[in-house]
Amino acid sequence: MSHTLTEKILACASGKESVSPGDIVDVSVNTAFIHDVFISGVVEEFSKLPHKKVWHPDGIVLIADHEVPAVSEWAGECYKTMLRFAETQDIKRIHIAEGVCHQLIPEKGYVGPGMVLVGTDSHTTTHGALGAFSTGIGTTEMAAVLATGKIWLKVPETIHFELSGSLSKGVYAKDIVLSMLQILGAEGATYKAIEITGNAVKNLTMADRLTICNMGVEMGAKNALFAPDDITMAYIKSSGADASYLVNVESPRYSQTIQMNLSEIKPMLAFPKGVDDVHPVDEAIGTEIHEAFIGSCTNGRYEDFVVAANIIRGKKVPGHVRLIITPASMQIYKRLIEDGLAMDFINAGAMITNPGCGLCYGKHGGVLSRTDVAIASNNRNFPGRLGHKDSQVYLASPATVARSAVYGKISAPDRE
């Protein structure tokens, strides 16, 4: 028998010798997190349960990231609900306006390899980057997890991407995951796990892996993960995460293996109105843009801003383009200031916003008008996602966004 990493983690977490795809298992959760949009709903559902106390206060993380600073009269009540719940339940891991959940959780050491994470956000697939099983759930389901520390899961089949070769100049992790979307489509991995291996993986940083796993959900995946390696262990050594759940697998059997040679990948775009409408950047060169956005849980990490700053430094964004920079956490924000990158962006004419999810879910901080065309480093471009339903959003790597911002039209990152 040769189980996949997902199967191995779910077997350990459900106290079973082994599990197979299709099995329904009752799994123990290590970390459960809730963000500000859903805290009220979760607390309300939890109050309907006879359990008065949460299963394990240190297993719970509360993060206000979507509605910060407050975008409505409702938001302040969400923070208060969060603070009250933390106090009555003795929850110490609470972060208001410190960053986006999918950056804070790895950064603060709340996820380690082999753990089981659930969160009230679809992009919870992100944390598979550290070799964890991590998936998004709804509010009712979260209330049950808070009460019992457990969740029922159907063991998914695993789709395997085997990466070889190395990326060409101007090509980044975002282009890898957009290429995966081009292959699988928006539902190609529905109910399934995605596991990424291959000899090219050792050249992917933790930031790269977080980007790729983040968009696993855009292919419909239940979870997406990389097996833990030296890069993982170095990351959790600095984050202080618990490494005791670590599991290893040998020659697993996958339901499907897709080979990807990274040297063949080009800079890619998801065209407006479909995350899986993926084309090479070359097909849209010259398209005029009005807004360029670098940020989000997909591509708002320090490494992303280094790439963008190297393109933008010393240049001016044309007057018709709004360039918006949104670091994914306060820690990243501080580094941008300390290392001078913030000044590079400001001198080029960019706006730097606080860490948060505002624009990526169409609420605030750059919402698009009916006739706006944007290029953005986030993960979704459904109709209306970033503002008006007729606005057009191209998804791209931070490098492609930065180069396009400088020229005021969609441009390839790998040429002058």
Binding site: I24, V37, F38, G41, E45, K48, L49, P50, H51, S72, W74, T120, D121, S122, T124, G136, I137, G138, T139, T140, E141, A143, A144, A147, T148, W152, A186, E187, T190, Y191, G220, K222, G274, Y361, G362, K363, R380, F382, P383, G384, R385, K389
Partner: protein
């Protein structure tokens, strides 16, 4: 129970995401009945005002994709939808349906093609089949664990039942 009932079909295509089922701007509304008035505003503006209790939604691929917002199945439940047939569902939406006590059934594409929007179909809850145009579609039963959640009326009721059962031991 056990009687065949007549119901109406609301037909949708592929990739109806949760932003289309209920857009972000309405999520702040504390009143779910008020929020439900805006369900399906983009793909079918007349849906929220015309849908009747027990009407069924029939969709093609990847129904409910996008965010994890539970308000998406909740507004449909609030409007009286108790059953959704789709060629495929997005997984978080699928789980949210079960946890709220809505029945999400997967059907084949050929079966999807039998349905016309706004047409009447029959549903037999006892036999678990849908009658459409002289054809009968047998719905696949859920695994016992999932059926126990649905039978309890959703996950909260189910977890409460379990808690109470443990207390009595």
């Amino acid at each position: 129970m056990g009687e065949t009932m007549q119901t109406k079909v609301w037909k949708f295509t592929d990739d109806i995401d949760t932003d289309q089922i209920i857009a972000t701007q309405y999520l702040v509304n504390p009143d779910i009945n008020d929020m439900a008035r805006y369900a399906m505003e983009i793909p079918k503006p007349e849906f929220a005002s015309s849908v009747q209790t027990d009407d069924i939604i029939v969709a093609r691929n990847n129904f409910g994709c996008g965010s994890s917002r539970e308000q998406a199945p909740l507004v449909l439940k609030t409007l009286g939808v108790k059953m959704i047939l789709a060629v495929s569902f997005a997984r978080i939406f699928y789980r949210n349906c079960i946890n709220l006590g809505i029945r999400p059934y997967e059907i084949k594409l050929s079966q999807y093609n039998l349905f016309d929007d706004q047409s009447a179909v029959t549903y037999d809850p006892q036999m678990n089949y849908i009658g459409v145009k002289n054809e009968t579609i047998s719905l696949n039963p859920f695994p016992p664990f999932v059926e126990s959640i649905l039978a309890a009326g959703g996950l909260i009721a189910h977890v409460t039942q379990q808690f109470n059962a443990n207390q009595e031991k």
